[in-house]
Symmetry: C2
Subunit: 320 residues, 2 copies
């Protein structure tokens, strides 16, 4: 079954002295915003300083002065962004960072990153970059071109794992698999001890998790089908320290690290990435808005010949 795991992501920071995203906007606003991109809210949990929504395609986190919306599949995230920008006083938006990972079923998307950026630029001028070579894994990033300076201690990190091991894929596509079994398989007790969890097992496949604790969050999205398996993990704590555990569980053929304001990224990555992987892409830039961005792609060299994938043309679904 065809599913585009690669995510689109937006992070919007507003002036918290003038408005609170938690207090001044009703539940219906978030449901509407999510609906704009073709997703819906599946589940949610609240803590005093954070609301976390599990979506039919990924996640939405809302804090007092900040939101993070991640969507995958064929969602049109830019439409949700446009909805927010049109409903909320633009003057209150301090920064907006919009990202898209390169897609693997790009022809099924309703827009390209460039299309999206041209739309955003009609509302607010920004600049855009491609982190990584065109012919390799890469991540597109757009941010508003203004004087806002991000806080250097606002660290976030993504680990995007592609083509996980056959055994991990088999485990995560087992019929009747429960959320508890997936949590155990992913060793969430070690990954997010003491966090409050909200997760959902999709039918026939797929798993999403939000985890929050104080100001910390982690979110995991799993597309487990062996022909196009993909697992994304994002958190605002030291995810690099957890990389060895995640990579041992998932054993992907390749993976990306996308880190923002991660101190000593190069040294930490060199320590934490298992020796069987080699770096294919290493890109770094401190953006004008004080945001330090590192993008790295690692691959596991292949030494033995494998078989091609036979494509089942009889399927009604687009499978490849």
């Amino acid at each position: 079954m065809f599913f585009e795991g690669s995510e689109k992501k937006v992070e919007i920071t507003i002036d918290g002295d003038k408005m609170s995203l938690l207090e001044d906007l009703p539940q219906s606003f978030w449901a509407q915003m999510v609906a704009q991109c073709g997703a819906m809210i599946v589940s949610q949990m609240s803590q005093p300083n954070c609301k976390a929504f599990l979506l039919s395609e990924s996640s939405l986190f809302v804090w007092h002065d900040r939101l993070l919306l991640i969507t995958c599949g064929q969602t049109r995230l830019v439409n949700a962004v446009e909805y927010f920008v049109e409903k909320v006083d633009k003057q209150l938006i301090l920064q907006l960072i919009y990202q898209r990972k390169n897609e693997y079923f790009a022809s099924a998307q309703s827009s390209s990153f460039v299309d999206d950026v041209r739309l955003l630029n009609r509302h607010m001028p920004g600049v855009a970059y491609r982190f990584g070579e065109l012919y390799s894994h890469h991540n597109y990033l757009y941010h508003l071109d203004n004087d806002y300076q991000s806080s250097m201690d606002a660290t976030t990190c993504e680990l995007l794992a592609y083509q996980i091991s056959r055994s991990a894929s088999a485990h995560l596509t087992a019929p009747g698999l429960t959320g508890l079994e997936i949590r155990q398989f992913l060793q969430l007790d070690k990954l997010v001890p003491g966090f409050t969890l909200d997760d959902h097992v999709f039918s026939p496949f797929g798993y999403s998790l939000n985890a929050i604790k104080g100001n910390s969050y982690l979110t995991i999205h799993v597309t487990p089908q062996s022909t196009s398996s993909y697992v994304s993990v994002e958190a605002n704590f030291d995810l690099l320290a957890k990389a060895p555990l995640l990579l041992e569980i998932l054993a992907p053929a390749c993976f990306d690290l996308v880190c923002f304001n991660q101190p000593q990224f190069a040294q930490k990555a060199a320590q934490m990435v298992p020796k069987q992987y080699v770096s294919k892409e290493l890109v770094h830039k401190t953006l004008g808005i004080g945001l330090d961005v590192c993008f790295a792609n690692y691959i596991r060299p292949q030494h033995d010949f494998g078989q091609p994938t036979h494509l089942d043309l009889s399927s009604e679904h687009r499978v490849f």
Copy 2:
């Protein structure tokens, strides 16, 4: 400037006892066939057993009982195939092999490989494979599902070089560059000594070459722009032996080898691929039609951090 270098390719073998593609079809047939996919003939040369056409997007070779049509950009190669199948008695078609490399501006294509195969399957039943993982470089291949057996001495090999060195890209985008200068840069005297050449320098960038000698051919297509540089080389002689020379000239960040009926591919590739590259994909299968296919992707590990690519959003062209 945006240009999809990745090629689509079809090779059709007919029953040469019943028809000759060289003698029984007029020039207008080939012009019409090429026009179907949105390309046009730029130049051509003939030898007794081969006609070679340079196209606005790549090349067409016609032999007595076989044709090879390669197109790039946003061409709709499947429409040219459909034209051929509808105009020529289907019973005369012994084999048809249709390939597409994964594209890097896939959202700009008018169809996906699966769409194409579904169209072809309405005319003639076939089978399809993906050589290489979804999340890496890969090559889709379709062939008719029949009793035809290909000749094991019909060897062809493609070398597809991505993100060539800055100096090679700078050389190949120099203003006023002539065909002679490009031939010298590519060392064609060593690559195809004694071959008859036909080449074309495109404006503002781009270069295509056809070379023939007896039953041997080689074709080169160059997309030199540094943000999306790509060079494809295909030949039906021992191209692996020429790989060290080509890789020294182009110094790509990564490259693919796609070989058909290449004896001892694994050993030869291990000898010929420079040590700074590691293999990311290695796929092999002998198809039911007696065609031995190897697909390999090699990357050069990166050790130093580079800068992201700044995207010029003011351009009218899609640049990334």
